[in-house]
Amino acid sequence: MIRIAIRVNGAGRVAEVAPQTTLLELLRAKFGLTGAKSGCEAGDCGACTVLVDGRAVNACLMLAAQAEGREVLTIEGLAGAERLHPLQQAFVELSALQCGFCGPGMILAAKALLDRDPQPEEQAIREALAGNICRCTGYVKIVEAVRRAAELMRAELVPAARKVESSR
């Protein structure tokens, strides 16, 4: 067993894992963060996407040990205490999710894009999400939601008082 210390969603976490444990297994089984999904386990579907030091990666293709000392963001850490992240808000408003399985990965891949390019063209959105498969094939709404989120973030139009609860 090896000892891993990482920061997950802003908090320091420590765990003892077997060497072959992936980052995805660490997040789901040890930390109970089941937002990142186990899909293909081969880097094809993107359902396990999380941000490591701000960059989108497949958590199924990274050993937990390789994340030692890094900053990991999962979907559970995206919303603020009082309100959803603009990406989540836009996905809700535009009904961009159907079954929802791809949602956490889609949203985090989109966050990495908007962090480096606040005003992406449609082509850039599609390229940034090329590694995230939606088997409900709801890509049109998803791309629209990312564009909407970009507008919200630029204009800071998200009402500060909007509560997570009120959107349910």
Binding site: I2, A18, P19, Q20, T22, E41, A42, G43, D44, G46, T49, R55, A56, V57, N58, C60, L61, M62, L63, A65, Q66, E68, A109, A112, L113, R126, E127, A128, A130, G131, N132
Partner: protein, 295 residues
Amino acid sequence: MRTFDLVVATTAQHALEALARHGPRARVLAGGTDLLVELKAAAAAPEVLVDISRVEEFKALGREERGLVIGALVTHAEIARSELVCRLCPALAEAARRIGAEQTRNLGTLGGNLASAVPCMDTGPALMALDARIVLASLGGRREMPLEAFFVGPRRTRCAPGEILCEIVIPESSLGKSSAFRKAGLRRGQAIALANASAALRVDPQRGVFLEPRIALGAVAPTVMRAREAESFLDGRAVSREAISEAARIAAAQTRPISDFRASSGYRRELTAVLVRRVLEEACDRARGGCGGAP
């Protein structure tokens, strides 16, 4: 995945010592996008994995006297966004941009892509067209060879137990060349190459002839390959649409593609002719337009 002992190397020396100690029982882990997929499916795991992903010495990218030197751990995303690579050897930036998806480009490394030695890799043809050399490090020292000599067969290279591919060098003489890369997959994003091709060349400004043209092809032979007969055909010949078409035909005839569920051998050969024509046209346009990276 089956279990293994994990050595997390913090320096190059540390990694090389671990590899020397464990010899053929150890494998090197870099970005993991290829190796971890393989290990999940494998019946047997290596006894030891040496994780080099933290070794800073293998992460540099910069221009030196010998050319553009790229550390083996530089990721595809870093290469695709590197101003230096985009300016000096656009073919490599284009190849890196077409690998997998953003998530895999953020993890996968240039050295890992080469060391995997899969025939359909995207960076191999771009680097081979640019006459790239690779450096292998071991406790005994370093040795260098042309990338072309490194590949032995599918998933087989000249990297010996105890050695690590530590850097890739694109020689100064290639940095002034115009280059281009194209790939055909079953879709635009997240696709394995059915065939890919890269060209690097100069056009003599007075005589309008090809100088030192290089053409390299992927996914159409057991390893990435040079299309030497097509190169010889073009060398010194006046740039024309006809010459480019003929070179593309010659290059395609040299290939030995497999047929599988993605594409037949004949289709891959046809794709090769089209891709070679396009990369030659693009490289010629860049040579004339002056944007192919004059140093």
